[in-house]
Amino acid sequence: MGIGSTQPLLSIRNLTVRFGTFTALDNLSFNLDSGKTTAVVGESGSGKSVTALSVMGLVTLGTRAEIDAGEILFERKDGSTIDLLQCTEREMRSIRGNEISMIFQEPLTSLNPVYTTGDQVMESIQLHQGLTRRSAKDKALEMFEMVRIPRAEKVLTDYPHQLSGGMRQRVMIAMALSCDPKLLIADEPTTALDVTIQAQMLGLMKELQDQTGASVMLITHDMGVVAEVADDIVVMRRSKVVETGNVYDIFEKPEANYTRALLASIPRLGSMTGKSEPELFDLVLEANER
């Protein structure tokens, strides 16, 4: 497995998920260590998001997906370890948003357009911490200040469409961290943002991780983002894990061809000099030949 050999926070073992006849995850296994950022990388359709949704127990809700085999072991806040796939829906609801939180790619569509940002953050706090509305509002305000939302009190009463993309993603992060989760799953959290805001978000997430001690599962296809924030990497392709390891090892000595191609796909200034058309990578050539 390469990473997380001692006391992992999350251990996915032999997980297989199918959508009808299509196998979305094929015997997937990897570990995720406490307090670390593990990047799950791979092309679109490789199974990254299905992995995240499987951990959240959301993959089968309202879809045709079926979990065929495997286990997802998670160390809870009280120190006990459970298999998330064996949990009842009630148990999963007490874990979601409380012990494992998730932020999504597109913050505008991920926030409910008809409720204020404050209401949406307070809902999570009230649900898991049993606070009164007043106390939940104070906590939401504290979270907004923590993710450095300017004029936080005003933003509490704003609707999502009244905020910029970066502000919306800060609201999502505040909501995800409001119950002090042990694991934060970030599904391409910077893809919908422009480059300067991406850098701000990554910096903020790293800082908050240091403050809270939460582990982060960062789902991305951007190797630049991985280089910046990840400790460990899980490379996925076609529903399978291709390679896992420490970020330095993978960047320095990638073992799999696919990982090498992924790393080679990072655009570098001047790499097109003297070429009339974009370079085809080994994997594209391989696919064309088939």
Partner: protein, 326 residues
């Protein structure tokens, strides 16, 4: 607030335009109430008598004078006199407004509450037997004309089963000393069949619409976020999904209120319901133009008011609309 004030002003102008349009329409129609009144008269003096009546009613005045006089009167709440009813029009209409509004609102509430509920349940499991059954029911509901549904209900629940009254708004044999609750219950029993008859077509429509709307909303990212927070399906469906799913239903509600009132005319005729619809039907037969104009004005004003309420409700439900206040 400014947007709502503008909407109210626009609505007022629209009602005025509708009054003018209705007046022109009835003026251009061949024949008038005098023809109906003197329909049985005969002999040499008939034309003179008709002329005399026209002068008394102001029907001999030029069109624009009649129109301006009528609008002036309507603005002061005077809808004229009904030679057929031999009473001021307002006295004939006033007791009919409540029964029609009661029937229309009950049918609307029946259609919306049950339609949205079953549509939402069907959307939870779109491939289930229940969901398929809803599609068949909606098809049947659409296909049944209002008067046919009414006659069918009269036959089944009034004649064969004898469970519910099929005519009027109150039991005529109800003692005059009966209390408010007893009268209300009696009206409720009389209201059941007309409400179902009028509401079923809209119920089918709202059930289909809310199913489609819910299906779309349930695929939204914010529903996934709500579930990721740890919310149970109840709050996810009711708080997060339904409020977004009702937005298209509110739009349709305002537009269909006019259709609902036109359906009320047929239902009132079938169930002998003492509402505006039946009065309008009688006014058409007797060419009682003042009554007909007053009813058309009332109905138009109600539809415009319903659309105004829809606009306001739309803003309340969807905060994104407030930004672009029209």
């Amino acid at each position: 607030m400014k947007a709502i004030a503008v909407k109210i002003f626009e609505s007022f102008l629209l009602i005025l335009a509708v009054i003018v349009f209705n007046f022109v329409l009835i003026y251009l129609a061949p024949g008038d109430v005098v023809d109906a009144l003197s329909g049985g008269a005969f002999g040499d003096g008939r034309e003179e008598i008709n002329q005399l009546i026209r002068e008394q009613m102001g029907l001999d005045q030029p069109f624009h004078v009649q129109l301006i006089t009528y609008i002036g009167n309507v603005l002061t709440g005077d809808f004229g006199f009904s030679p057929i009813g031999n009473r001021p029009v307002i006295e004939m209409i006033a007791p009919r407004i409540f029964p029609t509004l009661l029937l229309a609102l009950c049918a609307l509430a029946f259609a919306v509450i049950i339609g949205v509920t079953i549509g939402s349940i069907a959307a939870r499991r779109p491939t289930s037997f229940f969901s398929g059954g809803l599609t068949v029911f909606a098809l049947i509901g659409f296909a049944m004309p209002v008067f046919w549904t009414g006659i069918l209900l009269v036959l089944v629940f009034g004649v064969w089963l004898d469970w519910l009254p099929v005519s009027g708004m109150n039991n005529l044999r109800l003692s005059s000393s009966a209390g408010f609750v007893e009268r209300a219950l009696d009206t409720a029993r009389h209201l059941v069949l007309p409400t179902i008859s009028l509401g079923v077509i809209f119920l089918a429509s709202y059930a289909r619409l809310s199913r489609a709307s819910m299906l779309e909303v349930l695929q939204s990212d914010y529903i996934r976020t709500a579930r990721a927070k740890g919310l149970s399906e109840g709050p996810v469906m009711i708080k997060h999904a339904l409020r977004n799913a009702v937005i298209p239903i509110i739009t349709v509600l305002g537009m269909e209120f006019g259709v609902l009132l036109s359906g009320a005319i047929l239902v009132e005729t079938v169930f002998n319901w003492p509402g505006l619809g039946r009065l309008a039907f009688e006014a058409v037969l007797t060419r009682d133009t003042n009554v007909l104009l007053a009813i058309l004005t009332m109905v138009s004003a109600t539809v415009i008011l319903a659309n105004l309420v829809t606009d306001i409700a739309y803003r309340l439900v969807d905060p994104r609309i407030r930004i672009g206040d029209v």
